[in-house]
């Protein structure tokens, strides 16, 4: 112990590069984002002028219909996409737990979308969903369904983006659930079987409680990821048609990079960050409390 005291700097030297990087490029930007949201930049007369305006940017935002519409779309997307992805990932993980001669290859094939970057997935799906010549319209036409507008329709565009993000995301979240499922001791299932449990009862009283921590982790991480989902909007829809895919993160991006309104942009980002933290906090609060009640040990 004495030894460490003499060399008290050693651990800090080991830490320094990564710690400086973390603080400067991951934590400090959150602070700058908030600070800059209190500033109004005017370009009158060609000169850039920065004025500290307290919460005026937020005030403008709250009077803005586009912002409220965007918030509504974000809320709708969040409510649909997260449970959908979790349910599908869990379903797939359970399917892939079954023993089969081909299980290794089947599992590997299902992991394909993980290796494909979201921009690539977006581009390919964009072409598949092309209203005039796309593969999907060709395929459904084969079954006598009339061609659909997909990404150019106000009612379908957001659902298309949900589909693309889900196609890309399910395999990724499934990995965690699969690892969690494989961690559950086989004896628990054997014991349940001896007690005459049906497959559903085994799922309800063994799998779910044992997997709760993993599900919670996946739910929180997936929610955080989907709050910033905007690659399909940047590449395919630009928030349209008629703002139907204009989620908050995209509205923030657009306010800054298209209209140079950084005060507005960063107010939106700050609001989104606060919403994300609140939602994640609530998830942790409600789900982990239940966890302690049912935990089997």
């Amino acid at each position: 112990m004495n030894f460490f005291k003499r060399q008290w700097m050693v651990p800090y030297l080991f830490l320094a590069p990564a710690l400086i990087g973390t603080i400067a490029f991951k934590l400090y930007p959150i602070f700058i984002g908030f600070w800059e949201s209190l500033i109004y930049t005017s370009f009158s007369g060609g000169a850039e002028k920065r004025i500290f305006v307290w919460f005026e940017n937020y005030q403008y935002l709250f009077d803005d219909k586009i912002f409220w519409k965007s918030l509504e779309i974000t809320a709708f997307l969040t409510i649909i996409i997260n449970p959908l992805q979790i349910a599908m990932s869990l379903g797939l993980a359970l399917l892939l737990m079954r023993k089969s001669k081909f299980i290794r290859i089947i599992r590997s094939l299902y992991l394909l979308p993980i290796g494909i970057a979201l921009p690539i997935a977006t581009i390919i799906w964009g072409l598949m969903l092309d209203p005039n010549q796309g593969l999907i319209n060709g395929l459904i036409g084969f079954f006598g369904i009339p061609p659909q507008p997909f990404l150019v329709s106000e009612n379908q565009a957001l659902w298309c983006i949900i589909a693309i993000a889900t196609w890309k995301g399910v395999a990724f979240w499934m990995l965690f659930l699969l690892a969690g499922l494989e961690d559950i001791p086989k004896q628990y299932y054997e014991a349940a079987e001896i007690d005459g449990a049906t497959p559903f009862q085994k799922f309800r009283y063994v799998t779910i409680p044992q997997l709760k921590r993993t599900i919670l982790f996946v739910f929180v991480a997936d929610t955080a990821a989907n709050f910033v989902l905007m690659v399909p909007m940047i590449i395919l829809t630009k928030g349209g048609p008629l703002q139907s895919t204009n989620v908050l993160i995209y509205e923030g991006y657009r306010s800054g990079f298209y209209y140079q309104d950084w005060g507005r942009s960063l107010s939106i980002i700050t609001i989104l960050t606060v919403i994300t933290l609140i939602v994640i906090g609530l998830q942790l609060l409600f789900l982990s409390e239940k966890n302690e009640g049912i935990k089997v040990k």
Partner: protein, 279 residues
């Protein structure tokens, strides 16, 4: 007999569901790769009306030649450069931090570790805009620095190394210290060589992360000479909207390398990713 019959049915049903799922998973790849070897007019001919040829690969390399005339090669080289430097730098600094957390008790260690954990809960895309403003202030905007340096420190990888280093027997390290090895020597000569499995997984994560990044390079380095592969792809999809075969060819090339790496090191990749869960 009835039991047996029922079991059979559930197996068939399982195969059916798995098969449908596989089609949905694989169809975009299959179609994209097949179409990348066709001329543009052939792609459209096979689609309207749709016929089986849409799923058969063509034999034309036209699209592949065309994308390399369109500066795709440059963005590939850029991406290699950025990915490889990020892997090297990221592995070094994060493994050092992991070593510090595993080997030493020091003032503030728990708080600092808490900050590190907090940092990987912050989604990169949420801080992209303030980070972009910061890059402009410090003059890194539109340089390779902006693409590489902010992405090096990574909480997840620090965490992975810490967990691994905690498992190295203390006696081994004490013996080395008694023999007069410096702490850096202990880290460099003893701990790091032992950590091949973590390093493979963590390196792969860093590589894939950079290879697949889109939003940050899009806003931080807009000059065409600095474009990374995903940015170029995004550009193709707007500038050459109707040139489908080039979009497919570029996507196929960009998707190929991460897939090969992930499949080569599937085990390490999965355990690095899910390491968060396994204690």
């Amino acid at each position: 007999m009835i039991m047996h019959f029922k079991r059979q049915w559930s197996v068939y049903l399982w195969y059916l569901v798995i098969f449908i799922g596989l089609i949905i998973t694989i169809l975009p790849f299959w179609w994209g790769v097949a179409a990348s070897f066709k001329s543009n007019s052939d792609i459209f001919r096979d689609l309207a009306p749709i016929n089986i040829r849409a799923f058969l690969p063509g034999f034309s390399l036209e699209s592949y030649f065309a994308i390399f005339e369109n500066d795709f090669g440059r963005s590939m080289l850029n991406t290699f450069f950025v990915s490889i430097t990020s892997v090297a730098g990221g592995l070094l600094i994060n493994s050092m931090a992991g070593f510090a957390f595993a080997q030493f008790r020091f003032k503030g260690d728990n708080i600092i570790f808490g900050f590190v954990l907090l940092s990987f809960a912050v989604p990169a895309d949420a801080i992209a805009i303030p980070l972009f403003k910061m890059m402009r202030q410090i003059g890194w905007f539109d340089t390779f620095y902006a693409l590489i340096i902010p992405m090096l420190a990574n909480g997840l990888i620090i965490f992975l190394y810490r967990q691994f280093f905690l498992g190295i027997p203390k006696e081994l390290i004490e013996a080395a210290r008694v023999d007069g090895l410096s702490w850096f020597g202990v880290f460099w000569r003893i701990c790091l060589p032992l950590s091949v499995p973590v390093t493979l997984g963590a390196g792969l994560l860093l590589f894939v992360f950079q290879w697949e990044s889109y939003l940050w390079p899009l806003i931080a380095a807009p000059s065409p000479e600095l474009h990374l592969i995903q940015v170029t792809l995004g550009r193709f999809s707007t500038e050459y909207e109707m040139v489908w075969n080039q979009q497919f060819a570029a996507s196929s090339i960009a998707g190929f390398l991460p897939l090969v790496f992930i499949y080569m090191f599937q085990k390490q990749f999965v355990s690095a990713l899910t390491g968060v869960e396994q204690k």
